[in-house]
Symmetry: C2
Subunit: 151 residues, 2 copies
DNA sequence: TTAAACTTGACAAAAATAGTAGGATATGAT
DNA sequence: ATCATATCCTACTATTTTTGTCAAGTTTAA
């Protein structure tokens, strides 16, 4: 059970975005790509998804780029991961398509619900703003070289 | 981020095993396979892993099968998932091989640690014994047909 | 001795992941 | 105007992981 690079890179990207667009300017893919050492093409794919999910907005044309669609305090890590991964559930016991007809008799479901809730609790209570602040304190992202970080 | 069938089937298998081996008799793969609707070959692979990880023990020869290596109260869901999935971490920020040289400067790590701890907390506090008891109450596994359940 | 059951290793189809490539479109600056 | 810069979009591909299957062997109770 591993979070894919979509979620891992995407979180780094949006933190980078928040850190570097404070004075109202849009941040372009290329600059994020260089700071975070993620290929432009792939990053584009991820940021585009963040846009269609309403987390960032784009400014087209020369001098354009991306900026947060709403204040960093209003964007949780869960929002970002769900936008990129589709769902962050470890096991989906969907009510659809006859899966789990015996739902009320299934004990493993008790476990999966528990796990899913634990994960959601963990990611929904951390905002991008908190991470940006933490990052400032540590002078990490966008300042120190993070090329060696795989996550 | 999805738990694979290894973990999902494996948990069902070990619960089935616990349910059906109470009177000291070993439970054979074939019977689990039939009750849980998982192919014998695949199940064999999973149960073998559970054995090498010390969660179940095998009884060879005719009339043999598998039984729990220790009381169901002493086996947590986390034990089972770790045995089968290797690691249940959503993101591994291993200290190995130069990954995360900037570990102390990396803010995303704060998130991943949080998520990993949440997951572990969820799976390590539920035992197979609890699920077996719950199952008895619901008369679910091993009694009611669970073929339709994908998890 | 024989059949039931475990043991092991090799193999393979299918799905998901992790990207690439290339062109179209929009827009600010010269 | 047109050019440079940037987003936007579709399609494609290589790699890895998942999800099994298969066949040949070993062990042991009856």
């Amino acid at each position: 059970m591993k979070l894919s690079t979509k979620g891992r890179y995407g979180l780094r990207a949006i933190i980078d975005l928040a850190l570097n667009s404070e004075n109202g300017n849009a941040v372009c893919i290329q600059s994020i790509s260089e700071r975070q050492n993620i290929s432009e093409s792939y990053l584009e794919q991820l940021v585009r998804k963040l846009r269609t999910e309403g987390l960032v907005k784009s400014v087209r044309g020369a001098g354009g780029g991306y900026e947060l669609a709403r204040p960093a305090e209003k964007i949780s890590v869960g929002d970002v991961l769900r936008a990129l991964e589709g769902s962050i559930e470890a096991v989906s016991c969907g009510d659809d398509e006859g899966c789990c007809d015996q739902a009320d008799l299934c004990v493993t479901r008790l476990v999966w619900d528990r796990v899913n809730k634990a994960i959601e609790g963990a990611v929904d209570t951390v905002t991008i703003a908190q991470l940006v602040e933490e990052s400032r304190k540590k002078q990490c992202m966008g300042k120190v070289d993070t090329k060696s970080c795989a996550n």
